[in-house]
């Protein structure tokens, strides 16, 4: 019976001849990823340059000569093709360009300062969202249609029933201002990231819980679980050894994009809690037409996404041997 296969531990490339196959697959994914990255960089650059408005515009109009000089300084004065090729050439040299708004700062420098902060908040949020999702979702599925199911889901749903720009000030008002328990905003020690992490993880935790609950119900209804029960395995063994492994697949698939999204920061959270992360640099970069800063942020996001999706696919194979990638 096929579910017995699950017990054998799987390691990639264990069988003869599989090694080279895996290598080819890896290579293929790498090439594909580079192509995607190139496309995304191109599209972002073009979109940013097509978007109306100048990166140097201000309420006080700057003289045309000055604007021309600035355009020249940042290599934005030639034809679109020239601008693009010079940007690409710079990228290949590892030069992400300069920020147009924050004059005198390179994009790499800004990202190097901002990304770790976003990633820290995002990383904690990811862990909490996944934990919340798995625990609440499984719990609800096991107690399907009982009061506990409803309660667990209600708890999870509190996170997605209002936008974060309402929930965040509410939490600040209660925990930071009324009870004076946590700092209202800022960056410094770990206490500063508690509220941002809670706000960021709540909606995604709810998301995960729903995915988990649905998929767990699917798995629990399938033959091999019933057989496992019939074989007299304890409910806990069935749940942890058999069901969870399969039920977690949709969640794993979702983790790729979710992690990339969380690691690169959320503009609203960062502005409300004064977290100096990269989410607000990205959004404000778009609004300010800060081409290279946006380009750099998108490259980071995209590279992260591609890598994580790849990892997710590998985990898929590990969790469910029947999935064939190569």
């Amino acid at each position: 019976m096929f579910w017995q296969n699950i017990h054998c531990s799987i390691c990639i490339g264990k069988n003869k001849g599989e090694g080279s196959k895996v290598f080819v697959y890896f290579l293929k994914r790498l090439v594909q990823s580079i192509i995607v990255l190139l496309f995304v960089v191109t599209a972002t650059f073009l979109l940013m340059r097509i978007a109306p408005g100048s990166p140097f515009a201000a309420e006080r109009k700057i003289p045309a000569k000055v604007e021309a000089a600035l355009m020249k300084k940042y290599n934005l004065d030639g034809s679109l093709v020239d601008q693009y090729t010079s940007y690409l050439a710079n990228l290949l040299k590892g030069n992400f360009g300069d920020s147009l708004k924050y004059e005198g700062r390179t994009v790499l420098e800004i990202l190097a300062q901002a990304f770790p902060k976003s990633a820290l908040v995002g990383g904690f949020s990811l862990v909490i969202a996944l934990l919340l999702g798995i625990v609440l979702g499984s719990y609800a599925a096991i107690h399907h249609n009982e009061l506990l199911d409803r309660l667990a889901m209600l708890l999870a749903l509190l996170g997605i029933c209002l936008p974060v720009f309402v929930i965040a000030p509410l939490l600040i008002l209660i925990f930071a201002m009324q009870w004076n328990f946590l700092p209202v905003a800022g960056w410094g020690n770990l206490s500063h990231i508690i509220l941002p992490v809670v706000c960021l993880s709540l909606p995604y935790g709810a998301y995960c819980a729903r995915l988990m609950r649905t998929s767990m119900l699917d798995v629990l209804g399938q033959d091999f679980i019933r057989t496992a029960h019939a074989k007299g395995l304890s409910a806990q063994v069935v749940l942890y050894k058999h069901a969870l492994r399969y039920a977690i697949l949709p969640l794993v698939n979702y983790t790729g994009p979710l992690a990339a999204h969380l690691f690169t920061g959320s503009m609203i959270i960062e502005e409300i809690f004064k977290v100096p992360g990269m989410g607000s640099f990205f959004v404000n970069g778009v609004l300010n037409r800060d081409v290279f800063l946006v380009g750099g942020s998108v490259i980071v996001y995209c590279a992260l996404l591609l890598t994580l999706n790849f990892v997710v696919d590998i985990i898929n194979v590990y969790l469910d041997r029947r999935i064939q990638l190569w």
Partner: protein
């Protein structure tokens, strides 16, 4: 066990919370992240605030916006009002020990005017003889520009026309001196804390992007004993409610930027003792696009202006001590009395509309108000929409665009009516009225009146302050009584949030100058 650890962890977190950084005497909210700290490049108020703490010009502003000697101890002015000779103090040094000399000023000002520097604010130096030509690349010999260091401590500037306000201008951020050999050495990176050499009351100790700038008292500053705070943190945030929360919980001592005080709480805040509101050089107004056929009739424009109840906007929406505006120049510019302007008169407005051929708004096309995203802009636009519907019976759409697109639409005259504001750079009507001279980049209405241009030119050549004021008044009368390419709505109020019984060395003033070097704790 896990639970107990968890509680312990929370306990550790809580110990660290709501604490102010050690060794920092004073923390204030400066506004958004500064774009740069290079005096030649910066253009925003909050950047300039920081630059003025790091660098000191020929003159500086006191906490009451009075002009105080800085690197210059005094100056001579020639009879014709054109040549300024500044005498520099001999004890001023850069933070690396070099002496601050007249040559530093010459080189720094030249750097602003160099076309390759692409200084966004170089126009503020166009009062100097030939500066404009040099900056625009029409003149290549810097010797012909009216900037010259006569010797180490004597600096001479020649203007192309008299400007009584030039002494004050030398305190402006673009006129600050910079240390050129440092710039040569490090290029654009010279503004980083590890490279910067400065001559002001404070030194740049740390600059964490989107977080804070930390200033350290400059021990070599010539007037160091007057500087009370050893360390100052300037926080960067773009959210007013975050700034306010920080202030309310005592994490911040002062909110220095009017945009960082939540506008929606103005009704309640303006009754509090720690809220300080004052009129300064700024006007909120609407531009009308003179290239639109239906706006070309001055009767229509006057009708639109006459049916705006400015009193209501100030009392209902802004609520922060703003003054309803009938003119473009703010009151309080010394010696200048702006003209009457147009008030609120819906009956006269609807009569004008009838005369223009739109009785009771009939036949008037659907027009739109362009604005950029901000709570306040939207609220004012909604009020205007309702007022024009009520008094003139015309239909208005609101057109919200994000910042860059909004500016492009204004530059391309791709709007009907657009929200705008203008902040003056120096205490003189010219800083306002010059905007609407034919062809100026800040005109943005397509309006042109040769009589206006001529009056302004005459005024600026006139040495007699009284006559000059009269000429300027005549010019403004064309702008806000006859032609009306704009609708002034209110004069902007500066706002500060600090506890008056604790913090000293700061006071509201018309220039919104609040130098950090004079701040001190009372008692």
């Amino acid at each position: 066990m896990f639970f107990r650890n968890f509680i312990f962890l929370i306990f550790i977190f809580v110990i660290g919370c709501n604490q102010r950084p050690a060794g920092v005497d004073f923390i204030f909210v400066n506004g958004d992240e500064p774009q740069s700290l290079d005096p030649a490049i910066i253009s925003g108020q909050l950047d300039m605030r920081m630059a003025k703490a790091l660098f000191e010009g020929l003159y500086t502003y006191g906490p009451d916006a009075s002009i105080k000697p800085g690197i210059a101890t005094h100056h001579d002015l020639s009879e014709d009002g054109l040549t300024y000779t500044f005498y520099l103090r001999s004890d001023a040094t850069w933070s690396n020990g070099d002496k601050v000399t007249a040559y530093d000023f010459e080189k720094s000002w030249r750097r602003v005017l160099e076309p390759t520097t692409a200084s966004k604010y170089s126009e503020i130096m166009y009062f100097i003889h030939n500066a404009e030509a040099y900056n625009k690349g029409e003149l290549f010999d810097f010797k012909k520009v009216g900037i010259e260091a006569l010797n180490e401590l004597t600096f001479q500037v020649t203007l192309h026309s008299p400007a009584a306000y030039f002494q004050g201008l030398t305190a402006f951020a673009t006129y600050l001196p910079v240390h050129l050999s440092t710039i040569k050495k490090y290029g654009d990176a010279w503004i980083k804390p590890e490279h910067m050499v400065s001559n002001g009351p404070y030194l740049l100790e740390d600059w964490r992007i989107k977080d804070r700038i930390r200033l350290k008292k400059n021990p070599n500053y010539w007037n160091a004993e007057s500087v009370k705070f050893n360390r100052i943190d300037a926080l960067a945030t773009s959210s007013a409610s975050t700034a306010f929360n920080l202030y309310e919980t005592g994490q911040v001592d002062l909110i220095l930027d009017k945009t960082m005080i939540p506008g929606m709480l103005m009704g309640e805040l303006s009754e509090r003792e720690d809220m300080h509101s004052y009129i300064y050089l700024g006007t909120y107004f609407f531009r009308m696009n003179m290239t639109r056929p239906f706006l070309q009739d001055s009767k229509v424009r006057k009708a639109l202006a006459l049916s705006v109840d400015k009193e209501k906007i100030v009392n209902k929406i802004t609520r922060g001590g703003e003054q309803p505006a009938r003119t473009f120049c703010t009151p309080g510019i010394n010696k200048y009395q702006p003209p009457e302007g147009l008030g609120f008169d819906p009956e006269a407005a609807s009569k004008l509309m009838s005369e223009a051929g739109y009785p009771n708004g009939e036949g008037f096309p659907r027009i739109s108000i362009l604005y950029n995203k901000s709570e306040l802009n939207q609220q004012i636009a909604v009020e205007l929409q309702a007022m024009w519907k009520e008094h003139l019976n015309i239909d208005i759409d609101l057109r919200l665009q994000e910042w860059a697109t909004y500016l492009r639409s204004m530059d391309n005259l791709d709007y009907d009516i657009a929200r705008s504001s203008w902040i003056g750079d120096y205490v003189d009507p010219n800083t306002f009225l010059d905007c609407f001279v034919t062809g100026r980049g800040n005109n943005r209405t397509g309006w042109s009146n040769p009589r206006y241009d001529a009056l302004l030119e005459q005024a600026n050549l006139n040495l007699d302050p009284v006559q000059r004021a009269e000429l300027l008044k005549d010019a403004e009368r064309i702008l806000v009584e006859e032609d009306m390419p704009i609708i002034p709505v209110y004069h902007v109020a500066g706002k500060l949030l600090y506890r008056k019984n604790k913090l000293g060395g700061i006071q509201p003033n018309v220039l919104a100058e609040h130098p950090l070097q004079y701040l001190y704790w009372k008692e």
